[in-house]
């Protein structure tokens, strides 16, 4: 039988039942490898359910730092009989299948081309623990212990993690250690170890951190000065405000009174959440809300109000599989059009596309500056993969001299010195007017905010010319926005190929890997990573510089490609969609295959709409 041999380059998958407490054990596994200096990329694949259904945890370990998803499992840990058939199948030939052999494995699960490692997890827990809940929980720790021997994970690192976790519950440390050791020693007694696929300490993560995007967003909001968070729970965005609360509670209490320097409102729905944000920002606070696709649809009337009345707002859209309720626990990037053009009438919104936790942190903090500067909603486009999975990320940084950019807000003193305040006057020629915060001045600067058409002095008007002046100024403001939003990242000093690659957000991980792999095959691509909408000149030039540009995204309708064509007046056939939308993060392999099918000339199909995505 084939033997896979690999050091620090493998995919380990855990098959569990949700609600059985496997998450913390699995996290410990990934974190330990990370602490051994080896880049890891864990992914939760979980059902929309609380208890009793299959759930998977997949860890890609890659010394080279390839952190996108990869098909093909090298080692499967299966403790869920429900999913066993599928799980056996997903192991690569020559791979390993670790299972609970307290009961004998049914013959239908036996494949000739993979290795089986039976560990009597249930039997061990039955013997060593009496409380059924402890049995359940420690089963998970036992398999981690077993893996430490099988894969050569440093036991000290694992124990260090446990000590860290149970710092304030010391009495839980010993039983956890014991469980680890039970697993380890079972392996050592019964198998040759380590396996041919295994780990070795490296120094490949540097000072990086392992963190999920939602926590990063929450920290960005704390650092960016958000004081009001209004939200309604929805997967996969829910954990953001939880984390915001946790850190604000720790870092934002008034030291004297113990009172909060923030307010969190769990709204009655997404419409109300967005309304609260608008009310708070209108009143001069920094406020944000978090949601996913369905929430954006519900917020769409309010987004139009904020656009037209020019009220700052920060919205975090952690995208999930759509349309409608869709695939609530799967990842996609399917809300680009609905977010960019949310609401009726001529509207358009600024989008930010973070691709790492570091950018989640940075862009969230920046979003508040942008919202105040541009007086318009800023939508941070995260997704389930980025938001809910841990990612290796550069550490977060903050310049203590940094000042919040509150934009064009007039103080009482300013008002004294102004002849006539016009809320919607384009004083500076950049399309951005000045605003005042309620309560500023006893007799000057008050105005009426409304979603109806108005003149430069915020007075209601049905006059067509005044309306046109106002909406044309909004276009000018849109031009100004291009200068303020994060610029795209280029991956070459100079463009030097006919073919270009555009990606953004979580397509980045797989796209960079695909580029390297293709490069090794002699296919060189220039690349650009989008970080915001509206697009600036660099994007236009990058596309103009290439015969064909591949646009990688995770939705069916090639929405980013549409927006690029629309906004930059591009020739559509120049942009080739590279799509994956089955709810799993896109893989380098998918990108590579799709690019190859179009390279060097558009071979088979002329109609690029017919591009087929291989089932992945």
């Amino acid at each position: 039988m084939e033997h896979i041999r690999a050091i620090n380059d493998l995919v380990v998958r855990f098959a569990n039942v949700n609600g059985t407490g496997s998450a913390s054990a699995n996290n410990m596994f990934a974190k330990a490898i990370f602490r051994m200096g080896i880049p890891v990329s864990p992914k939760n694949i979980f059902p929309s359910n609380i208890q009793g259904l299959p759930t998977w945890y997949e860890v890609r370990i890659s010394e080279k730092g390839y952190l996108g998803r990869r098909e093909g499992v090298d080692l499967m840990v299966c403790v869920n009989p429900q999913s066993m058939a599928r799980d056996v199948e997903s192991v690569k030939p020559g791979g390993y299948f670790v299972y609970d052999n307290t009961k004998k494995l049914h013959s239908e699960f036996i494949r000739e081309d993979i290795h089986y490692i039976g560990i009597p997890m249930t039997a061990i827990t039955m013997k060593h623990y009496s409380d059924p809940r402890q049995r359940q929980l420690f089963k998970n720790v036992i398999y981690v212990g077993a893996l430490s021997a099988l894969l050569d994970i440093e036991m000290d690192v694992l124990k260090g993690l446990i000590e860290g976790q149970f710092q304030r519950k010391q009495k839980l440390i010993a039983p956890n250690f014991k469980a680890l050791e039970l697993g380890e020693s079972y392996v050592k007694e019964h198998f040759q170890y380590p396996l041919d696929i295994r780990l070795e300490r490296r120094d490949n993560v540097g000072d990086q951190i392992l963190i999920d995007g939602n926590t990063a967003v929450a920290l960005g909001a704390v650092y960016g000065g958000a004081t009001v968070a209004a939200w309604y729970p929805i997967t996969p965005s829910t954990s953001i405000v939880g984390a915001f609360e946790k850190y604000a509670n720790r870092l934002r209490k008034d030291p004297e009174t113990g009172k909060s320097r923030y307010a969190i409102v769990q709204a009655e729905d997404e419409l109300a959440a967005m309304g609260m944000v608008i009310g708070a920002t209108w009143n001069g606070a920094r406020a944000f809300t978090t949601t996913s696709g369905p929430g954006v649809s519900l917020m769409s009337e309010f987004l139009g109000l904020a656009y037209f009345a020019e009220i700052p707002a920060v919205l975090v859209n952690v995208q999930r599989g759509g349309p409608s309720t869709g695939m609530p626990t799967r990842t996609q990037q399917p809300d680009l059009i609905s977010s960019a053009y949310a609401s009726h009438g001529d509207t358009r919104h600024v989008l930010l596309f973070p691709s790492t936790p570091k950018e989640c942190f940075d862009f969230t903090a920046q979003a508040f500056d942008l919202a105040d500067r541009l007086q318009t909603p800023i939508i941070l486009m995260s997704d389930l993969d980025l938001g809910m999975n841990d990612h290796v990320s550069p550490p977060f940084e903050w310049d203590d001299g940094r000042q919040y950019d509150l934009g064009k807000v007039l103080s009482a003193e300013d008002l004294e010195n102004i002849e006539q305040f016009g809320r919607y006057l384009d004083v500076d020629g950049d399309g951005i007017p000045y605003r005042t915060i309620p309560g500023t001045h006893p007799t000057k600067g008050s105005f009426f905010t409304r979603g109806t058409s108005k003149d430069e002095y915020a007075r209601y008007t049905e006059n067509g010319a005044a309306y046109v002046r106002n909406v044309d100024r909004l276009l000018k403001k849109w031009e100004t926005a291009k200068k303020h939003v994060p610029a795209p990242e280029l991956y070459q000093q100079e463009n030097s190929n006919d073919y270009g690659l555009i990606f953004f957000g979580t397509t980045t991980y797989a796209a960079l890997e695909a580029m390297e792999v293709l490069g090794e095959k002699g296919i060189k691509l220039d690349a650009l990573r989008l970080r915001a909408f509206p697009f600036n000149e660099t994007v236009r030039e990058f596309i103009a510089d290439h015969k064909q540009v591949f646009v990688v995204e995770q939705n069916r309708d090639a929405q980013l490609r549409s927006i690029l064509i629309n906004e930059l007046d591009l020739y559509p056939r120049q942009l080739i969609p590279i799509l994956n939308y089955d709810g799993q993060p896109i893989t380098a392999d998918t990108i590579e295959q799709l690019i190859l099918s179009h390279y060097p000339q558009e071979k088979k199909h002329d109609d690029i709409h017919q591009t087929q995505v291989p089932a992945s």
Partner: protein
């Protein structure tokens, strides 16, 4: 078009405690129909703010969409105003209040704006006890969209288009009591002696203060029992099927003592039975308030006055233990934990 007040006035107008004349609390000229109850309420708001010596810029006025929701333009020009989208003022007010607990928030809404599209937000603003005055200018119909029945219309009401309302009226006062509102009052637009003190009380209440103000729509209210008005005009409108004629009407006023009833004739000739709570009414007993309201309802009376007030009301900020200083005044120093704390956080993710 109603002029709340003629624009020319004597220079030596009386001033309130903080040196403002009543004119300083006025707004733009109203563009509502002549005689519209909403204009009377606007006038009462002006009066109340003047008497309370409120600094105009320390008050924010918010509304939804509708004739009623237009009124904030017609009072308090020196206050910031926010005309939200239809039915969504409560959430805007909640957010605004979170941002700055030091202003007075005056929300104005209509029965369509609050009891239909805005029901969810209305209920939850009450539940959170957001510190604001919430005035519903309740005319039982959708004025601005030309007279459809609203959810507070009486059973059997006819809309201008002829549709009969078969459904029970939602009583916002009863609803607020059920939901645990901490200040619940009702009045009639034309009853200034009752309305002005109620608005003042509401503004002084530290929590959500609901004022349901019956406010006749002179143009579209159309009770079936009404016989005497519109005569020729109505025949004309029926024949031509256009509803673009609005005869000029006078403001309806009423003045009656506490504990007594008044039968007020509306513009369409129908009668409304108001009953004012007795002077010795104890408004701090929710149980009695619910019962008294039920009783009045069974008699077909519209009970007015301050039905209930919770003297121990705690608003959202108190419940959430927010800092006293308005959140919108905090800056980097108070908000940003700095690079050192961030380095510790980074370390916790290694």
């Amino acid at each position: 078009m109603t002029y709340i007040k003629p624009r020319f006035r004597h220079p030596e107008l009386p001033k309130n405690k903080i040196g403002f004349a009543k004119a300083d609390y006025e707004g733009a000229i109203s563009t509502l129909c002549g005689g519209c109850g909403h204009d009377s309420i606007s006038a009462a708001i002006v009066q109340a703010c003047y008497e309370l010596s409120i600094e105009p810029h320390k008050l924010a006025k918010l509304s939804g969409i509708g004739c009623s929701s237009k009124t904030p333009t017609y009072f308090l020009s020196n206050s910031h105003g926010f005309n939200a989208v239809h039915g969504r003022m409560p959430s805007i007010a909640t957010g605004a209040n979170m941002a700055n607990r030091d202003l007075i928030y005056l929300g104005v809404s209509g029965d369509g704006d609050s009891a239909s599209i805005g029901m969810g937000q209305f209920v939850h603003a009450i539940r959170r006890n957001v510190n604001m005055v919430y005035i519903v200018m309740n005319n039982g119909c959708y004025g601005l969209t030309k007279g459809q029945n609203s959810a507070t219309a009486d059973i059997g009401s006819l809309s201008k288009g002829g549709a009969v309302n078969h459904y029970p009226a939602i009583d916002l006062v009863g609803l607020a009591l059920e939901l645990g509102a901490t200040f619940v009052g009702r009045s009639f637009s034309g009853d200034k002696t009752q309305l002005v003190p109620l608005i003042k009380a509401a503004m002084s209440h530290p929590g959500f203060a609901l004022l349901d103000v019956v406010s006749p729509c002179v143009t579209f209210n159309n009770k079936p029992e009404s016989t005497k008005s519109y005569d020729y005009v109505r025949a004309h409108l029926e024949a031509t099927a256009t509803i673009d004629f609005v005869p000029e009407k006078e403001e309806i006023t009423v003045n009656y003592p506490k504990g007594k009833s008044a039968h007020v004739e509306l513009h369409d000739g129908s009668i409304i039975h108001l009953h004012k709570l007795a002077p010795n009414w104890n408004p701090t007993d929710r149980y009695s308030a619910v019962n008294r309201l039920l009783e009045a309802k069974m008699k077909g009376e519209v009970l007015t006055g301050l039905l209930y007030i919770d003297p121990n009301s705690q608003d959202m900020h108190e419940l959430e233990n927010t800092i006293d200083q308005p959140l919108n005044t905090l800056r980097e120093k108070e908000l940003c934990p700095g690079s050192e704390a961030l380095e510790k956080i980074n370390a916790s993710f290694r």
